[in-house]
């Protein structure tokens, strides 16, 4: 894959061959854009796109996220047919548990907003929860919200599907190609220097996930986002019994049963090393195991097979960084997705391409622009998991 020489120049250089960068590149090519180049320092699925839990949901607390994720899930629905790859998409719902009255009120408010936007979300009492997942211990649970149309995918084929179709449409993809520097003339970027040579670039899209601040720093742009190690693990496979993806916004615990039968999940853990770090810890396993076995005691005897971690790209206001950078007008951001970039990528790729090529969705690209930090127009989102 990396043996081919790099092109001399490109109209658009996307840095980061995760699902976000590949979805943008694929959609640009689909709408007729030429000379699109995607670079990645590692291999496909090596970053967060290959390390996440595969949840896709429209249950959010802000109108923007509900609207976008509804469209993203619709795109997941047709992905396998369109991209000719099995993504093991299962629409088996998302169940958010609340263990306090305050959390329950938050879920109720979000549920009302979601219903306004056409989602089938409903609030369940402990009896209703038991009916849906009999194995849950609901003695500490006040209420839950459930949307039967949310789902789970196997993340890796999404990346391969986008990569293959993007290349079929003429996108050049080079993995194992590290970006060392960005060349500028005045305030604009003119070229990308890699460990395999230099490429002249007319514009650069930063889709490097948790590595984004490192990239933009090369042209003096400080992003407010920071990498955060998030750990996850998977158990031995079990006969299918668990329908929905279960989440608890209090602890950040989440788990689902994969199509291979494993219970895959994680939990919030603030006590991790600063910066880019993809190591694993026993502390995580202990925190996760305690909350999981409290939520579903029957899992106590089930064995953990493997644990790993990936990097979230966290912003202070929980919303992403999208669109052009004022100081460097041909540098575009597609980062800061808070650990939810995977599920956002199908729709973000399409919107990004439409925005760049046809100027669509100006309001969204203004709302999520980096300049909100300079202007003090911060946003909010309460349904962030992990």
């Amino acid at each position: 894959m990396s043996a081919r020489p790099l092109p001399e120049d490109a109209r658009t250089v996307v840095v980061g061959a995760g699902i976000m960068g590949l979805s943008i590149a694929y959609n640009l090519a689909r709408f007729g854009a030429e000379r699109v180049l995607v670079l990645d320092g590692g291999y496909l699925c090596g970053g967060a796109s290959g390390r996440n839990g595969g949840g896709v949901r429209a249950q959010w607390s802000s109108e923007t996220n509900i609207r976008l994720m509804r469209r993203s899930i619709a795109l997941c629905d047709e992905f396998a047919t369109k991209m000719r790859i099995n993504v093991w998409f299962r629409r088996s719902g998302y169940l958010f548990l609340a263990r306090s009255d305050e959390r329950a009120r938050q879920l109720e408010a979000s549920c009302a907003l979601q219903n306004e936007h056409g989602l089938s979300t409903r609030i369940l009492d402990p009896t209703g929860i038991k009916k849906l997942v009999p194995q849950l211990d609901v003695s500490r649970v006040v209420a839950a919200s459930h949307n039967p149309d949310d789902g789970v995918v196997f993340p890796w084929p999404f990346v391969w599907g986008y990569a293959r179709e993007a290349q079929r449409l003429g996108v050049e993809l080079h993995t194992h190609t590290r970006v060392l520097d960005l060349e500028t003339e005045g305030e604009r970027i003119t070229g990308v220097v890699t460990d395999r040579g230099r490429v002249r670039a007319e514009r650069v899209i930063c889709a490097a996930g948790a590595w984004s601040p490192e990239l933009t720093r090369k042209v003096g742009v400080e992003l407010p986002s920071r990498p955060h190690r998030h750990e996850i693990c998977s158990t031995e496979p079990l006969k299918p019994f668990l329908e929905p993806f279960v989440g608890d916004l209090g602890t950040g615990l989440y788990f689902s049963q994969s199509m291979r039968g494993e219970i895959v999940g994680g939990i919030s853990n603030e006590h991790v090393p600063e910066g880019l770090d993809q190591a694993s810890s026993l502390r995580f396993l202990a925190l996760y195991a305690r909350s999981l076995t409290r939520a579903m005691p029957i899992l106590g005897g089930v064995r953990v097979l493997r644990q790993w971690s990936g990097c979230y790209d966290l912003t202070p206001d929980g919303n992403p960084l999208v669109g052009p950078v004022d100081e460097v007008p041909n540098l575009y951001l597609a980062s800061g997705f808070m650990g939810h970039g995977f599920m956002m990528a199908p729709i973000m790729g399409e919107l990004y391409a439409r925005h760049l090529l046809f100027g669509e969705e100006p309001e969204l690209f203004e709302r999520w622009n980096l300049r909100r930090y300079a202007q003090g127009n911060l946003l909010s989102e309460t349904m962030i998991l992990g």
Binding site: G250, T251, R283, L285
Partner: protein, 94 residues
């Protein structure tokens, strides 16, 4: 007689499937792992990693400098045992 050759016994990955992955351009060890799922099962690659690495090199792939990242725990451990290791200072927020 079947000509299927099993390389990863935990995840049922066949020689043919590994050959196909390499032919499709997954030509380094980590990429082959992700494409085929070899090494992600019960033994976590203890039995198959060396075989796959040898196959990869013989088919012109990138010679791995390291094995696939070893994933803890070393042996499968029950969740209840792990829950008992939770530090006392870690409260569970509501």
């Amino acid at each position: 007689m079947s000509n299927k050759v099993l390389i990863c016994r935990c995840e049922d990955v066949l020689l043919d499937e590994l050959e196909e992955a390499i032919a499709k351009g997954h030509d380094d060890l980590e990429s082959v792992k992700r494409y085929t799922g070899f090494g992600t099962g019960w033994c976590q690659g203890k039995q198959c990693t060396a075989l796959v690495a040898r196959l990869l090199v013989s088919r012109g792939g990138v010679a791995p400098a390291l094995p696939i990242t070893p994933r803890p725990p070393f042996h499968p451990i029950p969740l209840a045992d792990l829950a008992g290791l939770c530090p006392d200072d870690a409260e569970e927020p509501a």
